[in-house]
Amino acid sequence: MKKGTLYLFSLAVVFAFLASASSSALGAEFYKNKTIRFVVGYSPGGGYDTYTRAVARHMGKYIPGNPTPIVQNMTGGGSLIAANYIYNRAKPDGLTVGNWNGGLILQKTLGEKKARFEGDKFGWVGAPVKGLPACAIMGFTGLKTLEDVMKYGKRLKMGATRAGSTTDDLPKILNKTLGTNFDVISGYRGTATIRIAMQKGEIDGACWGWESMGVTARAMLDAKGDEKLIPFLIQGKDNSPEVRNLPQVTNVIKGKDNLSTFNAWMATYQFQRPISLPPGTPKSRLNILRKAYAAVMKDPQFLAEAKKSKLIINYVSGPEIEKYVHQIMNTPAKAKEALSFLVRKKKKK
């Protein structure tokens, strides 16, 4: 390298560093002129991304100093990469918040070694929604209620995406705890393809969140006769006419062990798409963000947007999430064993 080039190179480097240093000048309020980064564990356009972008758009104005929110997608391992990143690598300064699947805490409790975190050490900010897992069946089966389903002599083919999703886990758990006779057909690419397969008659029904079913399967819910999709079981309260009077899973499962098995799984659904902070983030900043989050959940503009996007909002506060996280982490041994199929244990042949 020539001398002149070297000189210019170092000049450029120095200049660049000065430029970036000046932007992080200290302000009176911590969040002033800062960017607050939402690390989403899933790709753009998905449920996690949609909810979090909506929240992020409105959260800045409720944080003193009005930081600029940016959303970054860090996908991998069903958001495990994001979770591990937030726990182990992200700076606990209140400028990085994580958005990853709370179900991973159950995975960890059941022995998943790749989850490198302790669920109760995160700073839980809040979650926008509680999950309402539900099961539905097509009209052409001739069945209408849970009772019909339980009495049905043949195996019902339930469409599913892949292990680890509601579509796959819930019917399997119901087979174990409720004694249903579902044949889980996995391999569909998403609930959209499952819907098509139901219309084709390839499968008889499926289980997934009512918060999504009620929106995306609307046309099928409104259809008549053979083509109608009929929900027959749900967990959680919702006022839509289709599910208002359905039996609740926890009311129909019999036996203490069965119930605690289901509850351990269900606890992960009580806080969907939660926001969390790295362990060790100052309490004061956690509180600022909790307040801001709660304010967003009441913000009329946010609610109007959410309503338009058909994003169901039922806010779960940080302390509430902490409670569920403890519940998951203290799952009784018997329930753990019943759920052990949810985690792969690599046994060599």
Binding site: M1, K2, T5, F9, A12, V13, A16, S20, A21, S24, R37, S43, P44, G45, D49, T50, R53, R57, I70, V71, N73, M74, T75, G76, G77, G78, L80, I81, N84, K91, K114, R162, A163, G164, I185, S186, G187, Y188, R189, A192, T193, R195, I196, A197, Q199, K200, E202, I203, T216, R218, A219, A304, K308, S309, K310, R344, K345, K347, K348, K349
Partner: protein, 692 residues
Amino acid sequence: MEYLDSFYSGLINILPFSTQGQSSFLFMLLGISIGFVVGLLPGLGGATTLALMLPFIYKMDPTTAFAFLLGSNAVTATTGDITSVLFGVPGEGITAATIVDGHPMAKKGEAGRALGAALMSSLVGAVFGAFALALAIPLVKPLVLSIGAAEFFMLAIVGITFVASLSGRNIFKGLTAGALGLVLAMVGLDPIESVPRFTLEPILGEGGGLFLWDGVALVAVTVGLFAIPEIVDLAVQEGAIAKQNVGKLGGVWQGVKDTFIHWKLVLRCSAIGAYIGLLPGLGGGPAQWIAYAHAVQSSPDKERFGKGAIEGVLGPGAANNSKEGGSLVPTIAFGVPGSVSMAILLGAFIIQGIVPGPDLLDPDKYLTLTFSFVWIIVVSNIITVAVCFLFLNQIAKITFVKGTYLIPFLLLLVYLGGFAVKNSFGDMAMVLLFGTLGWFMVRFDWQRPPLLIGLVLGNIAESNLFIASKIYGLSWLIRPGVILLFLLLLSGILYPLYQNYREKQKKIAARLDATQKPRSETTEEIPKRTRLYNSLFALFFVLIFAYVLREVFFGFGEDEDRAALFPLIIGIPGLILALSAFGKEVFTTTKVVTDDEVPSWEEPDVEPDVARQRMISIIMWTLGFFFSIWFVGFIYSSVIATFLYLKVGGREPWLMSIFLTIVAWLFFYGLFDYMLHLPFPDGQLQIWLGWA
């Protein structure tokens, strides 16, 4: 009659002659401009952009909202073709197939002609797809429900085989590459039981293993396979992308004329694109490749393909646009998105309070809006193509610009393309890895498209095979759709063989017929060294499949037989094919050279020593850019690496170096950071110094 009324109002609502139309038209123009740029830039995908645009539609009326979104989405495939042709870098994932013949045309100095053909066929395809959508509306249900899991599986197999069998003389190589694509598709969590497969954890460590849980990103592979070899080539050959100036023949109008000369092909490929787009679950990738395969197969002279055959541009050009209209069909009729872009568009329906399904087909409700979609696709493509044509001859001139000026931009964009997939350095490393593979594949005459199509269709094939056999047992084999596709498959394999046979017969006849001048054929010996290298590279494929089978038998746990099944099904034929390809490389000692072989562009003679030197140099720069981005981040790299390349690597004058460096900085900082707010990661240096 109601239909026609809605059809007409659908158009009026997006033209600037009414208040409604003015707002739609204005936002459509805005959407088009965004889509225009996004299509050109390899770093930005259409789907991601739609996700970023979505929040803006809350306050718009439905027609305006969709004019905005659909206008943007409809043109990305059109302008993506431009980048593919000019630089051999796919502007969009869905425009990779245009590279195969489009970029060689640019090298021959026919960039204008290739662009004209790509744009014109895009327009025809877009219009075709849009009207296919309009026509499909009344009979949409049987069309979409016509195909079940078993048929999907067969369709995937047909697609892979068709593309793989393009390789003409070395069918083993093509099929082996296809099988490798299928193996790459298996990397990550298996689609049924979420068992991690081939995540190479022992080698990459846990972080790398987890990264591979998500599988191998198509965009990173595409960009790497196609762009890196071109960049290396450009540096080694020096000079510009275009090696010849052919004058008028290479012009835009010639391309337009070509579109109409081959109008049957263009229409057929449009139909292929529209139908594949219509099938939910296949995604955006396959349409272009299947159209390309069709273009090759229907041509009497397959030898020209890959060297700049105009049909190879027209086919995928038409199909990747017509699939847009097609893929709207399941979205509109069932709320079932056919691709990622459509999934995001579905979000837009929900925001607008529209329930996809019967309402959109009901004249009293949203039928007019549905027909507006048709018109938005048509009008936005007409506008885009018209604008392009104004500048096309100028745009084509970039292929005559000195390569040194382009290389830093191309390197930055290529890495950005990989990075932007998931915002991860991992995918940037993928670009590099597959760039290396791609370069070797070009050098040893292996086809790259089969690998891509295998990667695209791998998971679809696997999960649908599983579903079909679980639901129907073995009886899926005798479903009429399956049998039909099987016959198509057979004809796809047998027809080229028959054509070969006929050509041979002709040759013999020609030799017998003394009046006709016989083709002069000479047999050349292949140098020992070349044979050694060829064989070693083929051996690499053998080793991969051997590794796959080793994993099948020893790498899976006891409850993981299902996850190991598809690797077994693919691994065995893969190994046999790779061994055959290897055997052929080892034992082929001569090659036949015919004098009527299509001449490719003139490669300037570069002294072997100089070539080797340049090669080492560009490889170091390629690695250097990677390191620089990792070390100081994208923005600083756009300044530092660009300047160093121009000044030190290219020995360009100060003024030019500084000027281009500023352009690079403005481009990366101004466009991506300042305007688009794409969060670029900090470099390691900033992290170590605690500035991140």
